[in-house]
């Protein structure tokens, strides 16, 4: 009997997370990259001219994008060794489930990095977070879903090309623009202490992007595989 779509997706996600949990190299590398990025950004501008609170949303979401790209790179890269991808395709699960499982593992990975990066931005940039922290994490979840959906699909495609490392950012970044835009604007509204209602259009944009990207990428993924 074939397991259900979500059950088999969770199966794939667990496999990827188990690999990650046993090696731990990628997570630590991406985390160090993200915090290094936060530090480097601090020295790229004049702290007396631009207030940290104005810069923080941009820094946070640019780091989010690039560390996300790094983690997405390995998603299908790991399946290339010993043609593990063929094994996945032979297993009795739907191709949509492979995609959703991969995307779920990537989502948890990206959110794990984010869980430690947001407080470090708050710490290093002296942000008055406090109450806004839960909402900031909510924005991170909304942004991560859209980003991971597109990124997982392109990771599957880029892994089979000659320019894998170069092609993934080139294909993904135009798609990340509306996500980063929505997340950064919502964060800026939040950090400026303005009412949450003002950020509503950006939340709507993020939710719409999540729905469209997740649906389109799940449907498109089987087409990227051989018949």
């Amino acid at each position: 009997m074939r397991p259900s779509l979500l059950a088999s997706a969770w199966f794939i996600a667990r496999k990827d997370l188990a690999i990650e949990f046993r090696t731990r190299t990628a997570f630590l590398a991406v985390l160090v990259f993200a915090i290094l990025g936060v530090a480097i950004f601090y020295f790229a501008w004049d702290a007396t001219a631009v207030a940290a609170i104005d810069l923080a949303p941009g820094v946070l979401w640019v780091i989010f994008t690039f560390s996300g790209l790094l983690s997405l790179q390995r998603s299908f890269g790991v399946e290339l060794a010993d043609r593990a991808m063929d094994g996945l395709l032979l297993s009795p699960i739907d191709r949509e489930a492979i995609f959703l499982g991969k995307a779920l593992a990537n989502l948890l990975f990206v959110l794990g990095v984010q869980l430690l990066t947001i407080p470090s931005v708050a710490l290093l940039y002296n942000l008055p977070l406090g109450r806004t922290l839960p909402i900031l994490f909510a924005i991170a979840v909304l942004a991560a879903v859209g980003l991971v959906a597109v990124g997982t699909l392109f990771s599957a495609m880029a892994a089979n090309t000659r320019l894998a490392e170069l092609l993934l950012p080139m294909l993904s970044l135009p798609f990340f623009v509306p996500v980063v835009y929505g997340a950064a604007q919502a964060t800026a509204t939040l950090l400026a202490g303005r009412p949450l209602a003002e950020a509503a259009p950006f939340f709507k944009l993020l939710i719409a992007l999540d729905l469209v990207f997740l649906t389109a990428c799940t449907l498109a993924f089987p087409y990227t595989l051989e018949e």
């Binding site: 597109v150 699909l153 495609m157 089979n160 090309t161 000659r162 320019l163 092609l167 080139m170 294909l171 970044l173 135009p174 798609f175 623009v177 509306p178 835009y181 929505g182 604007q185 259009p201 950006f202 944009l205 719409a208 992007l209 469209v212 389109a216 990428c217 498109a220 087409y223 990227t224 051989e226």
Partner: protein, 249 residues
């Protein structure tokens, strides 16, 4: 042995003679397009009055807008043919999408170079993050990515599938980029000078514009056709080389 190899030899022989006679890439349609473009340029430069407020810079409009419309034609071909390919798996659709992508990038480049040339004297800036400018820039990025992706995949069927998926996703992305800038613009209104209302055009200018538009559209179609034929010849040559490789083994 001979009975097997004769059809192969015959096929490659006919294909060699066809290749030797030279493929017709640029045909009568291309000639019409080039003559039309030259005529349109001559009319725009010498026989169209200079606009009162903007001066000579306004004449860029005659190249800029038809180029943008032609770019939309070419990109429409990419989006449509991507859907057709995933549906029917017909390699002709893939070849047409490829042709549309290259020609589209060419016209987008023309739009993005003529735009700032007009913007500097009229707006006082080369670039502004206005909705249309941003959208055009991202269309350019998407098409560049599309062509790089095509160049990075060796297997023909895989290349066709990947690029069709990207073509469709890119078409889905466009409304969101537009929406992002729209949200941005409503929150931070731009000075009204950045969006000047064009005065309704006098007849002489309108004729020049429509002439340019017609010539540019024909050029776009002729280029896509020529690029398609080139793709056809290239694939035939590749198939021929593979055949020869099989024979020598």
């Amino acid at each position: 042995m001979t009975s097997v190899s004769v059809p192969d030899d015959a096929r490659s022989a006919t294909q060699t003679t066809r290749a030797a006679s030279g493929p017709v890439l640029f045909d009568w349609l291309f000639v019409v397009a080039v003559v039309g473009m030259i005529a349109a340029y001559v009319r725009a430069i010498f026989f169209t009055p200079i606009e009162a407020l903007q001066g000579a810079a306004q004449k860029i409009y005659y190249v800029h807008v038809p180029a943008a419309l032609s770019a939309y034609i070419a990109l429409g071909v990419v989006a449509l043919m991507s859907i057709v390919y995933l549906w029917l798996h017909d390699e002709r659709a893939d070849r047409l999408a490829e042709s549309g992508g290259e020609v589209g990038l060419l016209f987008l480049t023309a739009v993005l170079t003529t735009g700032p040339l007009w913007g500097k004297p009229i707006w006082g800036t080369w670039w502004t993050w206005d909705a249309r400018l941003t959208l055009t820039l991202f269309l350019w990025f998407l098409m560049a990515g599309y062509l790089v992706l095509r160049g990075a995949v060796d297997d023909a069927a895989m290349r066709a599938r990947y690029s069709a998926v990207l073509g469709i996703l890119a078409a889905l992305l466009i409304p969101f980029i537009h929406l992002s800038v729209y949200l941005f613009n409503t929150l931070h209104p731009k000075p009204i000078l950045l969006k000047p209302e064009r005065p309704s055009m006098p007849n002489e200018m309108l004729v020049t514009f429509l002439g340019f538009f017609a010539a540019c559209s024909v050029l776009c179609i002729a280029l896509i056709r020529a690029r398609y034929r080139y793709g056809l010849e290239r694939d035939a040559l590749r198939a021929l080389e593979l055949d020869e490789g099989d024979v020598s083994e």
